[in-house]
């Protein structure tokens, strides 16, 4: 059992595991809505548009987290605003916005000559998470989970029947804004763990895995969170012992979980098909 304890002797590993658990649980829970409301592309876009915010904060010596939050919130509101208009299709608008912002971020980085930092931003640097980062991650986790619990029945209803919501006076578009804001906060924490490029995996993969295993919303959120936490911890151990990139290891463990759930699902439906009398 010593191999289990060994990594925990290092304080950077303790911080990293705690960060992976918090971020995994938050991303997976809100990720269930991302999957069910078909917002995966938006999640990816939010992660990419955080880049210029991160770079501007870095160049000015501000808190990186704060810079990313500002960029993420602006994007969330921009997407919400764009999706109300009908001149440009929503996915097209998002595609243009997020690649443009991402390009701006890369342009700014190229002025600094420090591409080591670019790697950290793109692929995450969970082993470099500081105590104050951890505190911010914790705050975002609490805000997101409390909001998801407090507005559970409204998020649920507007997701599958926005018309009924409108009839009873519940504005579906405002709930969507709120979800986008929570999503942008979550995405920014996730960037610390797996980086800009892999963040949408944290949102989508555990939630999609859980969706294969149950058809009840609260249970789906719980399973997704457990998968994400397990992926985070296992990924970090693999990264520790094999000396591979931690963000990539975490995402790959989650991907393997999805593959296993897929196989379970197929076997289940084959067996169900066999038991039906001819």
């Amino acid at each position: 059992m010593d191999w289990l304890i060994e990594p925990l002797r290092y304080s950077f590993m303790q911080t990293a595991i705690l960060a992976a658990v918090l971020v995994g649980a938050t991303c997976a829970t809100i990720g269930v809505y991302v999957v069910l409301r078909r917002m995966a592309f938006i999640g990816d876009a939010l992660a990419h548009t955080a880049l210029p915010g991160l770079v501007v904060a870095y160049l000015n010596g501000w808190n990186l987290f704060g810079g990313a939050v500002v960029a993420g919130l602006l994007t969330a509101l921009g997407i919400g605003w764009l999706s109300r208009r009908e001149e440009v299709r929503e996915d097209t608008a998002i595609g243009i916005l997020f690649t443009g912002m991402f390009a701006l971020g890369i342009l700014l980085i190229s002025t600094t000559r420090s591409f080591r930092d670019l790697t950290h931003i793109l692929f995450g640097n969970i082993l470099g998470v500081t105590t104050s980062d951890l505190l911010l991650i914790g705050i975002v986790t609490v805000i997101t989970l409390v909001a998801l619990v407090a507005f559970h029945k409204e998020f649920e209803l507007t997701s599958f029947d926005p018309i009924h919501a409108e009839v009873i006076g519940l504005r579906a578009d405002r709930l969507r804004y709120l979800l986008l804001i929570l999503l942008s906060l979550t995405v920014v924490t996730s960037i610390q763990v797996v980086g800009v490029v892999l963040t949408s995996a944290m949102l989508v993969t555990p939630a999609a895995t859980a969706a294969l295993l149950t058809n009840r919303l609260p249970r789906m959120m719980l399973i997704a969170a457990l998968i994400a936490i397990a992926s985070g911890v296992i990924g970090l151990y693999i990264s520790f012992y094999q000396n591979v990139a931690s963000g990539a290891a975490i995402v790959l463990v989650a991907t393997v979980c999805f593959g296993l759930a897929w196989v379970v699902r197929i076997i289940k439906s084959r067996m169900a098909a066999k038991t039906i009398p001819a």
Binding site: E154, E156, S159, F160, V167
Partner: protein, 267 residues
Amino acid sequence: MSVIPFFPYKKYSGASSKATAAPFAVDVDQLSVGYPSGDQMYALDNVSLQVPSGARIALVGPNGAGKSTLLKAIAGLLKVQSGSIHLYGNPVGAEPQRVAYLPQRGEIDWRFPISLHKLVVTGRYVHLGWFRRPSADDHKKADEMIRRLGLSALADRQIGQLSGGQQQRALLARALTQNADLLLLDEPLNAVDSQTRAVIADVLNQLQREGKTVLAATHDLGRLETDYDDAMYLAEGREVAPPPGAFTGQVRTKLAQPKPTFTHKAG
């Protein structure tokens, strides 16, 4: 019951006491509704309709006649171009608890992971508002309606695993669970099996005995006489004369006489 106070989804300050004096459950006056594309054409063109409390009125016409548009406008889902809609004397949206709307099946994401029971419980949300969760009593009300529509055995099933007729009955169960005074039903009998047809007809009769007002879109001419008190015929967004031999009731003819002055709206 709940410790959390009632925070309604929509605050409306204009609801007035004149509601008690209002003679009509639904009063649509020269209503015109455009298409979202900003087309020259009207989806509804200068339509008027008064429904007395407790009456069951059918909106009859082919696809595209404007039946659904009229129901959606009354439910507060569409922008009104000109004219007015009053429900129990108040503008649309003033008393959402009193108005239940049954959408067409296609407007719901049936793959969403919730059970039939939970779908029906959402009919209580307008009474709950923000933060409050459905109480044991809300669940009981939902179960009662599920039973009335013959769905008890399916209550735990995910909504996508129901047949079309069962989905239609589930939506009606939700509308009934809301315990509204006015029910707006968009094609409640569209493409359903005969069992569902019988169950829903039965429920509509029950509603009349309870004094509820029903306004339903249909293109089924066969059941008008048994299920409704009167009918309004629509084509291409306007009211038209009933086809020869078609059912007409007494409710609307009586109303066609000049309005007494007290029902007239100011301005």
